[in-house]
């Protein structure tokens, strides 16, 4: 959101309703999703979304570390969202800051809302999300990558979890903010949808919106998630369809 006392604000919306990168208000940035790029992981995915690059890996179900977190009736879902030192304009000190810890928590809760954790008592399912290049919307990109990685790992889930942020930019509700829009816009509202049930398992907001704006933002976000959902399924189909070929080649 707009920093207090910051310098000149760029023109975020032109007279024709085009955004800073030429998109319409309800238009997503380009997204590429690749399932299975990391051979060492049980499941993995790489997401390029606008100028974001995010890698996710899933390990598990496996033994719980540290042991005292073990639960007798279900798997523990652990999530670590981390930003590489070089992923942002000003170098970030390595290690999880408070923002990363909060995001790790809400992403873990989102995944726990869809994974059939009771099928794997006394185990841990670990989702690692690494932001390699950041340009607003990294937690949503991380959710998408983590969700595809969970599917790639064969973890049973209610559904995939498409995610997107909706924002308010120059007074208008806009889908999928990029960095300048996030920095100088009025609000940011990331969400993750369970397409099957139409319910949200992640929802955060910061900035300011009126009630009608918020309603509009929620509806726009749900539509955005549906588009992303198709791309996620396509990435997994491609992964499975490639596998037999690779097997033949071997």
């Amino acid at each position: 959101m707009g920093s207090v006392g910051a310098k000149e604000v760029p023109v975020l919306l032109d007279a024709e309703g085009r955004r800073i990168d030429g998109r319409r208000l309800d238009e997503l940035r380009p997204i590429q999703i690749r399932a299975g790029p990391l051979p060492q992981a049980d499941g993995s995915a790489f997401v390029e979304w606008g100028a974001n690059k995010v890698m996710a890996a899933v390990y598990g179900p496996r033994e719980v570390h540290p042991r005292h977190l073990q639960q007798s009736t279900k798997a523990v879902i652990q999530c670590r969202y981390n930003m590489a030192a070089f992923s942002v304009d000003e170098r970030k000190r390595p290690g999880l800051d408070r923002r990363s810890q909060e995001i790790s928590k809400v992403i873990a809760e989102a995944f726990e809302s869809v994974v059939f954790a009771e099928e794997f008592p006394r185990t841990s399912i670990d989702v690692y999300i690494e932001v390699l290049q950041a340009n607003a919307g990294t937690r949503c990109a991380g959710l998408v990558a983590g969700s595809v990685a969970l599917a790639d790992a064969g973890i049973p889930m209610v559904d995939l979890l498409p995610a997107v942020a909706v924002g308010k930019v120059a007074g208008a509700i806009a889908l999928d903010l990029k960095k300048e829009e996030d920095n100088f816009g009025e609000a940011d509202l990331p969400m993750a949808l369970v397409p099957q049930s139409g319910r949200l398992v992640l929802l955060q907001m910061e900035g300011h919106m009126t009630e009608p704006e918020l309603a509009k933002a929620l509806d726009l976000g749900v539509e955005g998630c549906k588009v992303i959902y198709e791309k996620m399924k396509a990435a997994l189909r491609e992964r499975y369809s490639v596998r037999p070929l690779a097997a033949e080649a071997a």
Binding site: E102, L189, L200, Q204, M205, L218
Partner: protein, 262 residues
Amino acid sequence: MSDEVAAEILQTHILDLAAEGRRLDGRAPDDYRTVTIEPGFVATADGSALVRIGETAALCGVKLEPGKPFPDTPNAGVLTTNAELIPLSSPTFEPGPPQPGAIEVSRVVDRAIRAAETVDLTRLCVTPGEKSWVCYVDIHMLGHDGNLIDAGMLAAVSALSGAVLPAKRFGIAEADYPLDVQHLPVECTFVRLGDTIVVDPTFDEEHAAQGRITVATDESGRVVAMQKGLVGAFSPDDVKAVVRRAFVHGDRLREQVRGARR
């Protein structure tokens, strides 16, 4: 083991009650517990308030000290929010560095304070790029019976509302003067219990809940922050309904904050 069984029985009971629109403590789904605000509780702080929501208690102390503005906002003061879930206040809190739960409370309260522009940070600048006030908002939980975010937020905004800049002590002005609080954000938290969404959950309700959602509103009709937490899901229509209810509760809570000012 018997602890787990007892917890499960309690959870089932809470959900059964909720299905009939009832709650363990007799409240209706949209009833908020009694809130008390005791401003000026801590004399060593520049502003403070002890807030109780039922048996949940949050003590906030605000300290104001001269410091340096951030390089990218040379004309603004600095505000930082920290919540401590000290082990004194609940058998479930552990000593040691802040856990994700404490960090979440800090950050959700911080976002609302910031997004609502509660304090005009530019007025905390003393010499651009050189010297500005640093405003520490420290929240100490003193009792945990659920709904920590709302309690922390009320304590923070009440403490800020009564805060005085110790300008004389630090040789910045001839006399101390009150901190200017221009907006009054409050958070309002709900949990899902089956098909019922109840406001102001207790500790036991949070443990039975299938999703938690917090909405921060300000006095000008704006939503300034939201946070979904815990395992569970909300439909967009749930969210819209909850926002509506958050404004109603918010306006009432704001009245209390105003009334407690002194």
